[in-house]
C-alpha cells in the first residue's frame, strides 16, 4: 500500500497543480496508526494517508462537496465506486464537480477484530505483507491480515471499479473474498419465525438509536429524514420502546431496498456491532430471486427493480399467480 499511496499522492499533486481539482477528499492520519478520519485537503495534503485502516467510504461527502465552488478529487475503493454510481443515478452528486480516482484495495482492517483477539494498549500498528504487527504496552503481537478484515471485505464485490476517471492499481491484486455473502442470510431464512424474531430482538435490543448507521449510509441521502421530524413522535433520539428499535431498522431497510449497494458501512460504524447489513442482504437476495440478479450502483442510470415498472413484474405476496414466487 505504501507504493500505491505514493502514486496517489503524486498524481493528486499534479491534479492540484494543473487546476483540475481545487480540493481532495481523502483520509487523514489521526492520533494512532489505526485512527483515520475522512478529511478534505487543499494542495498541501497535510496529514493525508492511505493504508489498511482507510475503510470509510467517502462517496457520501460528495453530496455536500458538489454544492461548493470548484472540482473535488475523490478517492474511491472498488466498493465505494458502487455507492458513487448510485448517488449519481439518484442525482445527488454533480458529476462535473468531481474527479474520481479508483484506487487499489487489498482489504481493509477492522480494529475491533484486532481488539477482539485480546490486543490492548496499542502503541503502534504496522502492515507487513499479509501480517499486521502490533506493539502494545503489554507486549507485541502479529496477526494475519486475513483474520482481521472488515466483514465486507470477506464478501468483496471484486477489486475492479465501476466508476472513475482514472485508476491507480497494484500490479498484483489481492482477492479477499472467502465467503458467500448470502451465507448468513440463508441461515436466517432457514430459521423458524420465532427463532428469527429472537435473533433480531437479541441484536436490535442493543441499539442505542445513535443513527450512525443512517448517517453514514450513502443510500440514506434524504435532505430531511422522516426520523428527524419532531412532529412524528418517533424522531431520532426517541428510543422509547423495543417496537421503535425494530421499526426504525425495518423502515430504514425498506427505504434503501434496491438502492443499497451492500457497502457495509452501517455495520462497520455501529457502536453495538449489530449486523445491520444482513437486513439489507435479505432484500438484495429477494430482489435477485424475484426480479433477476441486480447490483445497485453497477452502472449510472440503472433503473432499480423497485422503482421501475414492467408489465411482467413479479408481484410477491398478494398475487403469486402473476409470477410472485412466494
Amino acid at each position: 500500500m505504501q507504493e500505491i499511496f505514493g502514486r496517489i499522492k503524486k498524481r493528486a499533486a499534479e491534479l492540484f497543480a494543473d487546476g483540475t481539482v481545487t480540493r481532495m477528499v481523502g483520509w487523514q492520519k489521526g492520533e494512532s496508526d489505526y485512527d483515520k478520519t475522512p478529511a478534505v485537503f487543499g494542495p498541501d495534503m497535510k496529514g493525508f494517508v492511505y493504508d489498511g485502516f482507510c475503510g470509510a467510504n467517502l462517496s457520501k461527502y460528495l453530496i455536500n462537496l458538489s454544492k461548493v465552488e470548484g472540482r473535488t478529487l475523490v478517492l474511491l475503493k472498488p466498493c465505494d465506486s458502487y455507492s458513487f454510481n448510485q448517488l449519481l443515478t439518484e442525482h445527488r452528486i454533480d458529476r462535473d464537480k468531481v474527479y474520481a480516482i479508483g484506487i487499489d484495495c487489498n482489504g481493509k482492517l477492522d480494529i475491533n477484530k484486532i481488539r477482539a483477539l485480546g490486543v490492548k494498549g496499542i502503541r503502534s500498528v504496522a502492515e507487513e505483507g499479509d501480517e499486521v504487527v502490533l506493539d502494545t504496552v503489554y507486549g507485541s503481537k502479529r496477526v494475519k491480515r486475513s483474520e482481521v478484515l472488515l466483514d465486507r471485505c470477506y464478501c468483496c464485490k471484486g477489486k475492479d471499479h465501476v466508476a472513475g476517471d482514472e485508476f491507480i492499481l497494484a500490479e498484483k491484486r489481492v482477492d479477499t473474498t472467502t465467503t458467500d455473502r448470502f451465507e448468513l442470510v440463508k441461515k436466517l431464512e432457514a430459521m423458524t419465525p420465532d427463532e428469527r424474531y429472537e435473533f433480531w430482538r437479541g441484536e436490535l435490543s442493543r441499539c442505542i438509536r445513535c443513527n450512525a448507521c443512517r448517517n453514514v449510509c450513502p443510500a440514506c441521502s434524504c435532505v430531511k429524514c422522516v426520523f428527524d421530524n419532531p412532529a412524528l413522535g418517533t424522531d431520532s433520539k426517541a428510543n422509547s420502546d423495543t417496537f421503535e428499535e425494530n421499526m426504525f431498522h425495518i423502515i430504514r431497510a425498506f427505504h434503501v431496498a434496491g438502492r443499497c449497494t451492500d457497502c457495509g458501512e452501517c455495520s462497520r460504524v455501529c457502536p453495538q456491532h449489530i449486523p445491520l447489513h444482513l437486513l439489507n442482504r435479505k432484500f438484495i437476495r429477494d430482489i435477485d430471486e424475484l426480479y433477476g440478479e441486480y447490483q445497485a450502483g453497477a452502472e449510472v442510470g440503472q433503473r432499480g427493480p423497485l422503482t421501475d415498472f414492467a408489465k411482467n413484474d413479479a408481484e410477491p405476496g398478494a398475487t403469486p399467480d402473476k409470477g410472485g414466487k412466494k
Partner: protein, 349 residues
C-alpha cells in the same frame, strides 16, 4: 477493613448480593459488554475495561416515563407512572465512570433537584473496580482521575492473582459488604501489599499511555470567546456525520428532551437523551439555534471543556474514558479537539 474472595467464587458473591436487590454488572451479550442485571450464568466480564454505554444509564436512563395523561370525554386524568425503582447494586464501575456521577450530580442534584435522578442515586450502591489493564484510549490521568483507586463510589475493588479484594468506603458500602460478609475473608498485611502492588502496576501503565499528559489548561473561562471563534472548528467538524454516537456513549453527556407520545386516548410523557449533534436539539419555535454541524459539533466540546467548568469550579465535563475515541464512525474525538485547540503544550504529546 478490606476483604477478599477467590475470583472463581465470585458467582456465589453475585448470587448473594442479588438475592434481595438487583445487581448490575458488566455482562457480555452478542459480543458487547454492557451493565446488565445479574442472573444465573451471566457472562460477567470484569476484564473488559469499558462497557459500550456507560454506567450513567443506571441513574439517567436513555428513556424513562415521567407521567401519563388520559382523556375521557372532557376529563383529563394524570397517571403517575414514573419508575424510579428500588435499591440496586452496581459493581465493576471504573474510576472514570464513577467520577462521571459527580459531574451529573452537579447538574441533576442542584436545586431544584431532579427527583427521578435523585431517587436512583439514593437507591444505588456503587462498587468501583481498579483497571487492571488500561487501554491506549484511556486518559483519565489527564483529568486527575486515578484508575488504580477510585475516589468515588461506596466501595472499591481490585483483582489480582486470582483474588478479588473489596474495601467499603462509605456507610452504604459497609452495609452492602455486610450482606455478602459470610463469603469474605478478612485481609491481612500480605493482601494489603498485593493491592498496593496492583495499584503501582496500574500507575506504571497509565504513565505509558499516549494521552495521559494531555494538557487542558487552555480551556478555561477567560479563553472562551477565543476558543469559540477559532476557525479550526470548521476542519475539525468537516467529516462529522452528526450522529449521536459520541454523546450516547459518553458518561458525562447530560442533555435530554421531554416528549409526548400519543397513546390513542392520551399521552405518555417521557424523557429521552438528547444529542447536541442532532438537527432538532434545543429546537424552539424560531428553529434550531445552531444551524450547521460546525456549530453543533462545537457545542459538544465547548460544553465539556469550557462552559461546564466555568459553572463548576473548573471541573471538566469529561472523565477521559475514551469511549468517543473508540466509537466515533469517523474517528473524531475530544482528544483531537483538545490537541488542536489546546495550545502548543500539546504538540509533543
Amino acid at each position: 477493613m478490606m476483604y477478599k474472595i477467590r475470583t472463581e467464587r465470585l458467582p456465589e458473591l453475585f448470587a448473594l448480593a442479588a438475592a434481595d436487590k438487583a445487581l448490575y454488572l458488566p455482562v457480555e451479550q452478542g459480543g458487547q459488554v454492557e451493565f446488565r442485571p445479574w442472573s444465573e450464568g451471566a457472562a460477567v466480564r470484569f476484564d473488559a475495561l469499558n462497557t459500550v454505554r456507560s454506567a450513567k444509564d443506571l441513574f439517567f436512563p436513555q428513556t424513562e416515563n415521567l407521567v401519563a395523561f388520559r382523556t375521557e370525554g372532557k376529563k383529563i386524568s394524570i397517571i403517575e407512572n414514573a419508575d424510579t425503582g428500588a435499591p440496586f447494586g452496581l459493581m465493576g464501575v471504573r474510576s472514570c465512570d464513577a467520577k462521571s456521577f459527580e459531574i451529573l450530580d452537579r447538574v441533576f442534584l442542584a436545586e431544584p433537584a431532579d427527583t427521578y435522578y435523585k431517587a436512583r442515586r439514593e437507591n444505588g450502591t456503587v462498587v468501583t473496580l481498579a483497571c487492571h489493564e488500561p487501554e491506549e484510549t484511556c486518559f483519565c490521568a489527564a483529568l486527575g482521575i486515578d484508575a488504580a483507586e477510585s475516589a468515588d463510589g461506596d466501595a472499591a475493588s481490585w483483582i489480582r492473582d486470582g483474588w478479588f479484594y473489596l474495601k467499603p468506603v462509605t456507610a452504604k458500602g459497609e452495609a452492602s459488604v455486610e450482606t455478602v460478609r459470610p463469603l469474605l475473608t478478612e485481609c491481612d498485611g500480605a493482601d494489603d501489599a498485593a493491592v498496593e502492588a496492583e495499584k503501582k502496576d496500574i500507575g506504571a501503565v497509565i504513565g505509558q499511555l499516549p494521552f495521559s499528559k494531555l494538557d487542558l489548561s487552555r480551556f478555561r473561562g477567560e479563553n472562551m470567546l477565543e476558543i469559540f471563534n477559532d476557525p479550526r472548528w470548521k476542519e475539525l467538524s468537516a467529516a462529522c456525520l452528526g450522529c449521536g454516537t459520541c454523546t450516547y456513549v459518553c458518561p458525562t453527556c447530560q442533555c435530554y428532551d421531554i416528549k409526548d407520545f400519543k397513546t390513542g386516548d392520551g399521552i405518555q410523557r417521557f424523557r429521552t437523551w438528547d444529542s447536541c449533534m442532532y438537527s432538532d436539539f434545543t429546537k424552539m419555535s424560531a428553529g434550531q439555534p445552531r444551524l450547521t454541524q460546525v456549530e453543533r459539533f462545537r457545542q459538544r466540546f465547548m460544553h465539556k471543556l469550557v462552559y461546564y467548568p466555568m459553572n463548576n469550579d473548573g471541573l471538566y465535563s469529561c472523565v477521559g474514558c475514551g469511549r468517543c475515541l473508540r466509537k466515533c464512525p469517523i474517528s473524531m474525538n475530544i482528544v483531537k479537539v483538545a490537541k488542536t485547540l489546546g495550545g502548543e503544550q500539546n504538540d509533543e504529546q
